[in-house]
Amino acid sequence: MLKFALKNLKTKLTRTILASIAVILCTTIALISFNTANQVQDGVISTAGFYDTIVGPEGSPLQLALSSMFYVENPLGTISYEHYENLKNNPSVKEVYPIASGDSYHGARIIGTVPEYLERYQLKSGRMFSEPGEAVLGYNVARSGVLQIGDEFVGVHGLAESGHVHADFKYSVAGGLAKTGTAADNVIYTPIESVWLVHGGHDHEGEAHDDEHEHEDGKITGDIVSIIIKTESLAAHTRLVAEYKKIPGIQAVNPASVLRELLGNLTMGRDILYVLAAIIVFMSAVVIYVTTASFVEDSKKDILVMRLVGIKRKTILSLFVLQTLFISAFSIVISFIISCVALFVINRFTAQSFGLVIDGAKHYPGEFLILLAVFLIIVVSALISIIPAYRHDPLEEK
């Protein structure tokens, strides 16, 4: 019967293709909306939730958090490296890492820090950087293939590829990180000293970066854009924030509370997307109802022929249901594949613009519920349009 059902669909190919396209469009949009809303939310929470304090120059706390944790937005300016050294000796501080930045390579920011900052990530290839000039690639940067282990490259000031080229300082790739699903996948890490060395010999007026380095007893030092901290306790965090309030030109913020406003907006956006997804799924039901109804209407002559030959009404109903099931299953599979591909494409945009990684292979149970809902709605819509034709026997008109 399946073979015959497929042949019957083939005779109404245009209508079949249009119905499939309608379902695929509706389902794909619903899947992408749901997935991206969840991945953005998860990405913000997982990145911002790991550390409780960021110390940096005065200015927008959100800009400080976004530039330090998601590597988007320009840094607010620089602060002295001394703050980091002081915090290292603070007993209420569990973990503390300096962040320096200013350059990029092929759109990927070059972040200066200490090797310990990357300890929570796994290496996929090569080794961790150990000397100034060495670099470790984030997962997406390594996967893009622009750099291989052992390659040498020079950074460009800022994010634009047409920026000033720091040709006098060459980086060499020591290793690559495994996938983290965070903004770390999109950047290149290097020892903080690399950043100081790059910016030692010249000045970029009006651009914030840590460009003053000194050589005191052979030790390279300079400024940093922020310090990322994990304190021992909430009380320690509160004390730290209070202490930095007293220091002019510097601030300590809690990234989670700073990002709360952003998350609030995202949650509202997510709710809107859920409503949108529901409307789209409903629309697909209407499309299928109309398509199946007109399909049945178009097939009235064929139904009469089948009935005259002796094909049972039950068999004809099964034939139409089977056709609907085929269109549904086909459209759902294609929608899922397209949504995966679309997520990879969306990742290119969100990774560069927001520092958020959208994983095309990451899926939520809710997506499968959407697919199931679409499938059931299609079948019910089709049945609603088929059953009147089933009840009304064309032979009774004869």
């Binding site: 015959f4 005779t11 064929d302 009469l304 022929v305 089948m306 005259l308 030959v309 002796g310 094909i311």
Partner: protein
């Protein structure tokens, strides 16, 4: 064999058919003549189980079809009746083969498709779409579909209405010949008296139908 007694049929209260008694024997071909509106097609539709009678008895191959439920009539039509229509009633978007394989939906494909088509001289058209066939070829496909289930009775309602004279004679001769070949009754209704010579027996609808109409 078909035996009909006291068959009555009305539409919207108007009696259109009243046949007291007639038998159609196996191996005999019948042609029923009469102008349009005399109840010829209604009689065929009742024998075919397409519509029920209001009263009377119709025994086909030992089965009384007059009291069958719609579902049982479907089964009877599928299993016992080969019906050829004037307007062919084929699935136009499908191929010749698909039109025959339609019966596979009810597991009722008894004869070999190639042999059946070959016997009707249209084997080369097996993969062709119905819309690409000539009217003569379409009528042969309709006959093939009626025969391939090995019916207990072969009925044809004005099977040559759309054909030219030469082709009409060819089709009539072919259809009538199945009575002897298959040992079943073949009943054809027509208004073309020139086709009488191809059939074993002819029946005048005006003599058969007791309803006083303009036949």
């Amino acid at each position: 064999m078909i035996g009909i007694t006291n068959l009555k049929k009305s539409f919207d209260g108007e009696r259109v058919l009243d046949i007291s008694d007639i038998n159609f024997e196996n191996g005999i071909s019948y042609i029923i003549f009469g102008p349009s509106g005399c109840g010829k097609s209604t009689l065929l539709n009742i024998i075919a189980g397409v519509i029920p009678s209001n009263s009377g008895q119709i025994i086909v191959d030992g089965l009384d079809i007059s009291g069958l439920s719609p579902v049982k009539r479907d089964e009877y039509r599928l299993n016992s009746v080969g019906y050829v229509f004037q307007d062919f009633r084929l699935l136009d978007g499908m191929t010749v083969e698909d039109n025959l394989r339609l019966l596979e939906l009810e597991l009722r494909l008894k004869l070999d498709i190639d042999q059946t088509l070959d016997a009707l001289g249209i084997l080369s058209k097996k993969k062709k779409k119905i819309t690409t066939l000539s009217v003569g070829e379409k009528q042969r496909v309709a006959i093939a579909r009626a025969l391939i289930k090995e019916p207990a009775v072969l009925l044809a309602d004005e099977p040559t209405g759309n054909l030219n004279s030469k082709l009409a004679k060819e089709i009539m001769s072919l259809t009538a010949g199945y009575a002897k070949k298959l040992g079943i009754p073949v009943i054809v209704v027509s208004h073309d008296y020139g086709m009488r010579e191809y059939f074993d027996m002819s029946v005048e609808m005006s003599e058969l139908n007791g309803v006083n109409r303009q036949c």
